[in-house]
Symmetry: C2
DNA sequence: TCAACTTTGTGCAAGCGTTCACAAGCGGTA
DNA sequence: TACCGCTTGTGAACGCTTGCACAAAGTTGA
């Protein structure tokens, strides 16, 4: 059992690899993958605006990163830029989409149709980006059959059959924390290997399952930490003779 | 203007620091802060179960991390364990809460009362953890005055006055992407220094503002990448004579 | 055709974060 | 009190990311 992200990602260099996309994909750092997704969004916006070519400097600015990092990230997926000119926006889009596996559709199942589940089921960003919501589940029998966002809710007991039948590749857990581990286990036994977890619980899963978590409480507490740090710094600075605005009050 | 997380976090060692919490807080790595929040939740669960003492090994297991990392994380906030015994759960809880700044309340404003905004406004996890939702905003005049989750919605034009009046320290952006930057600017001018952004946009903010983003599309695409990588590996392994289950089919 | 200019792609070094491994310290026991 | 076993706290090594700086490569203009 591996728990969430972390160890176990040891990149194993396989013997005599056909130097192509396969090997490339293994070597891309997780952090770079996350940024590639951001670049992709920015680039999609560019396409709509009719921009055909973009420099690393411009793209980096729009994506909020440093241009050297951007170029390194793009170099992981190959060299598709033109020196002295920049990158062809459409070419870049299609290469990033290929690397991120967005050329095929990934069916999504949402489990737990509460406030968040409703929001997710109705969220337009999923289907439009190649992530059709293929199934909804809840434990409440009253919800069974009721359509949410155009899809009827199934009972949670049918997870295994429905998920394998509809070839769900990504499971989204939006249940209360108590139910999350059980739901996760069922998803895994239904063959789902990627899970996005909104429940504030550390899920235990087999090594081959990829879990990403979105934890609002943790995000809020990180922000809280920064508020506190800032307040402390201010207090500290005042003690050291520097005013709250950074103005030195006792030179 | 700094964009989101990244550089600019250069830890400046201030002169003759009173070796206490203030200096400690600066030195804690961001990643460790995120984990501390997780430990805190696990520990809270322990308290409810009546557990009084816990070893690093146990806590690490429950939090899904390696025990050495856990001990190092805890060492950032001080030495509150007893060698040969472990940590006193309640002591640890109160120290983590102090470091994360959870001893004071942090008022939250949610902007954009769509599906997600509703879910956030009704989310019980916020108030119970010291993050009272103090204000809601939307651009739709029909929503103004309508209570959601017990709090009446204000019009977006009143952000500045309402936020400073109610001492909002954290702003949550749950608007469509087009509106996000404008809303962000208003929050910043209202004095909000911490922002949690759900809109799929890279926000541009002044250096002193802390932005965290929750980006569903990016999360999905990271999972998609792993699905694709896995499929490629499987294909690759079959080529190399290893079956899908890891069974060598051509020895 | 050639020179000047622009922008990519990448080797290298510095900085962080993670992991290892073990000394230091504490409670229990004789 | 002295010893033993267990667990913390942390110095040091390792490895991954980031950022710098520059050669390579392409375009433009004369």
């Amino acid at each position: 059992m591996a728990a969430q992200r972390g160890e176990g990602d040891g990149v194993v260099t396989s013997p005599e690899a056909p130097a192509d996309v396969r090997e490339r994909a293994r070597a891309i750092p997780e952090a770079a993958v996350a940024r590639l997704a951001v670049y992709l969004r920015v680039l999609s916006g560019m396409v709509e605006q009719g921009v055909t070519t973009i420099s690393s400097e411009e793209l980096a600015g729009a994506a909020g990163v440093n241009s050297a990092k951007l170029r390194k990230d793009l170099s992981y997926i190959g060299s598709y830029g033109t020196r002295g000119v920049g990158y062809d926006v459409e070419v870049l889009v299609s290469h990033i989409e290929r690397i991120l596996g967005l050329t095929r559709k990934h069916s999504v199942a949402v489990v737990g149709i509460g406030n968040l589940g409703h929001a997710l089921a109705n969220y337009g960003g999923f289907p439009s980006r190649g992530f059709p919501v293929a199934a909804l589940f809840d434990i409440d029998p009253d919800l069974t059959g009721v359509p949410v966002g155009g899809i009827p809710v199934n009972h949670i007991d049918d997870i295994t059959s429905v998920c394998s039948e509809r070839e769900v590749s990504i499971g989204v857990i939006a249940t209360p924390p108590q139910a999350a581990q059980a739901v996760c286990d069922r998803l895994v036994s239904a063959g789902v290997q990627c899970i996005l977890n909104f429940a504030p619980v550390v899920l235990q899963v087999p090594d081959y399952v990829e879990v990403r978590k979105v934890d609002l409480a943790v995000e809020m507490q990180i922000l809280s930490f920064h508020v506190a740090r800032r307040a402390d710094e201010a207090a500290n600075d005042v003690v050291n003779g520097i005013g709250v605005d950074g103005v030195v009050i006792r030179p």
